[in-house]
Point group: C2
């Protein structure tokens, strides 16, 4: 018989530190690898050590969202995967609009990880859709001028911005006006967005700069 | 006459919090936009407000590395750009090896931002280099079996891992053995690396999960 689940008061998810939410993603990724490798249960210390965290860190992070461990067993991988997916909101389908079909946009459209996680690019936009023959990777490509209309029509919830820095704010403003709830910004610029719009930024140059900082400073001991 | 520069004791750069180094990248990006737009000086409060930080935050971050402001003037954009580039190590050339030429690898090779920041991909590796006719975007493509030899020959300092999760650790081990000092990991897996190797990870699924968490929890107020 499974132990009785204790319902405790969980905090408002929006008050949870970003670093915790980030580690949830890492736990989820690791649990999936483990389950695929045939492992059905795992302890907090095993899970932590795979990621370089302590067992206390793992337990504390998960405690924000409820009780997931079983005495004498640890975590059941599949159960914890489902719980984390539900917390992260990736147990639902997310409709995505991609704006800008250059090199990066193309690569992202070909990236299986999106679909595997429930992110479905249902429309792409470019200022020159003709060059793409109206579709790419089975996703219809529209002229950027039709963004508001198409986003509303398909009730698209997330926007991916893959345009150059100079036009990114304009695209963001249009996506917000069209009604998206979240934006992933790949353009190397800080966007100004209304408070109710969630966003994440991915800037490859920034990542490389972080790396060069640490390598350069290791190589030149002061 | 410029005010005299005060030399103060700066901490070991490796003790500087990662969040500070990350914000340096954002300051740099913003300063470049400003300089391109013709602005030659800026105050800490102006710079901060463009990025959503306070002026105190800007001053505190920069103070880790020295004194950069001029009384009555603020920061000189070009001077601060050069200082931050030197701190981040992007004033030097970085030779890069890219391993895995799938969709993402191709997009990254076509990404101008790398070259603009001093990152030069000098060799690419794939298990099937023939399909690429030996080069892509003017970068020579070698069979993965030649990784150690080529990395050593060209004294390559950074490795970009764009292979699937299942082979990423193996590729990382080979890069380390060949002598790289830093790794950018695009594979959705946590790598186990020697302590002296610096690394950054970019996992697009993780970024999307962060976004879906915040959107999902805004849309379902608890």
């Amino acid at each position: 018989m499974p132990p009785p689940k204790q319902k405790t008061e969980t905090p408002d998810p929006l008050d949870v530190p970003k670093a915790v939410v980030n580690r949830l993603s890492l736990y989820l990724r690791e649990l999936r690898h483990l389950l695929r490798a045939g492992k059905t249960t795992i302890s907090s210390s095993e899970l932590g050590s795979l990621l370089g965290f302590t067992d206390a860190q793992v337990r504390k992070d998960l405690a924000y969202f409820g009780h997931f461990g079983h005495p004498g067993i640890g975590y059941r991988c599949e159960e914890l995967i489902n719980a984390i997916r539900s917390i992260l909101g990736t147990d639902q389908e997310w409709t995505v609009a991609m704006v800008g079909i250059g090199n990066l946009g193309r690569a992202l459209l070909g990236y299986r990880g999106f679909v595997d996680q429930g992110f479905q690019v249902v429309a792409a936009f470019d200022s020159n859709p003709e060059k793409l023959n109206g579709q790419i990777e089975e996703v219809p490509v529209y002229h950027i001028g039709r963004l508001t209309e198409v986003v509303r029509q398909h009730n698209i919830r997330l926007g991916l911005i893959c345009v150059p820095a100079a036009t990114a704010q304009n695209v963001a403003d249009r996506l917000v006006e069209a009604g998206v709830a979240g934006i992933v910004n790949f353009a190397p610029v800080t966007l100004s967005l209304p408070e109710e719009i969630s966003s994440v930024s991915v800037d490859l140059s920034t990542e490389l700069e972080q790396l060069s900082f640490f390598v350069a400073n290791r190589e030149q001991p002061r």
